[in-house]
């Protein structure tokens, strides 16, 4: 089966995010004064071959630990999983 897995990688809450601060200030200047905080991260879309959803998730979690995030400064979470094709392509 082929799964589409989406991952969000973002700086850990304790790590200063100057990009987020600049975006927040820009929003304030546009009049969106209710914005308390902005954090900027990355969005990755992976197509993964696996026997089932659990196996796909296990693989992607390992990928996050080994490459997709810098474990020193970034957190990651899987934001969506869906089946693309039932049969291995």
């Amino acid at each position: 089966m082929t799964f589409s897995v989406e991952v969000v990688v973002a700086l850990k809450p304790v790590v200063n995010d100057p990009q987020g601060l600049v975006v927040r200030d820009g929003l304030h200047r546009l009049g969106f004064t209710g914005v308390r905080s902005v954090r900027v991260g990355k969005h990755l879309e992976l197509e993964v071959e696996a026997d089932d959803e659990a196996a796909a998730l296990t693989q992607v979690e390992a990928m996050c630990e080994q490459l997709l995030r810098n474990t020193v400064i970034e957190d990651s979470r899987i934001s969506s999983v869906r089946v693309l094709t039932r049969r291995a392509s």
Binding site: V15, V22, N70, V72, I73
Partner: protein, 239 residues
């Protein structure tokens, strides 16, 4: 002595490093990223640039290069490895040094002279300097803000592994003049074995008076002296 200089796709300071090494009267060999042979180098330099385009994160992809497997083995067996700028980022991603380099607090790419206080003489890279001396060496980076957790910072400080700190021109603490917002104003650190140095500033760009400073040559000379006993440089008179 022989310096090996790594060349990844996107490396841009390799030839500047070779120039500095040769100016110091030593041999430079270029090490292609797809090779594994370190060609008998006494010290491997990972120079500045944007290895593999800095895709995903600075240094994240370079660590998979065949050459980096050899460099990691070399470092783990006590070989001298010197990461400069992008090389420092690669060493952190390869877990040969702790911590990470993140976006400058200014969000600007900064290419400016900086002043570094030599914080330890206990490494071959800095043994030739005087304690507390201030070197003028430029930075050229967008992601040089050193970040690590409190425990790591504590270990670095306790074990005398902070090699250089950004300071003001007169050697006093950088305060709000930090060029990138690094924690503890850290500009360079050593690994536990003190044989691996990572630093964001570019000593090879401060190697002759024409460039505004020759202070970077002190580091090249220090390494050479420790390895071959001969740090003597043809340009010594110019320093």
């Amino acid at each position: 002595m022989r310096f090996g200089i790594a060349v990844f796709p996107g490396t841009w300071s390799d030839r500047d490093c070779r120039h500095a090494v040769e100016l110091a009267g030593h041999e430079a060999v270029m090490l292609w990223h797809k090779d594994r042979d370190l060609q008998g180098a006494d010290c491997v330099i990972l120079p500045g640039g944007f290895a593999y385009g800095d895709y995903l994160r600075a240094g994240a992809v370079a660590r998979f290069a065949p050459l980096m497997e050899s460099v990691a083995e070399f470092a783990n067996s006590g070989g001298l490895v010197w990461g400069i700028c992008n090389g420092f980022q690669i060493l952190c991603e390869a877990h040969l040094l702790p911590g990470a380099l993140t976006r400058n607090s200014s969000l600007e790419f900064r290419c400016v002279p900086t002043w570094l206080r030599v914080e330890t003489l206990d490494s071959v890279f800095t043994a030739g300097c005087e304690r507390g001396s201030v070197l003028q060496i430029p930075i050229s980076h967008g992601e040089g803000r050193y970040v690590a957790d409190e425990a790591t910072l504590g270990t670095l400080e306790r074990d005398d592994r902070v090699a250089f700190r950004y300071v003001r021109r007169d050697g006093s603490d950088a305060g709000d003049e930090s060029p990138n917002g690094s924690m503890h104003d850290i500009a360079g650190i050593l690994n536990e074995g003190r044989n691996v140095l990572g630093m964001m500033p570019h000593p090879e760009r401060a190697c002759e008076p024409l460039l505004g400073s020759s202070d970077g040559m002190r580091l090249f000379a220090s390494v050479a002296k420790s390895v071959s006993g001969s740090g003597a440089m043809p340009v010594a008179a110019a320093l």
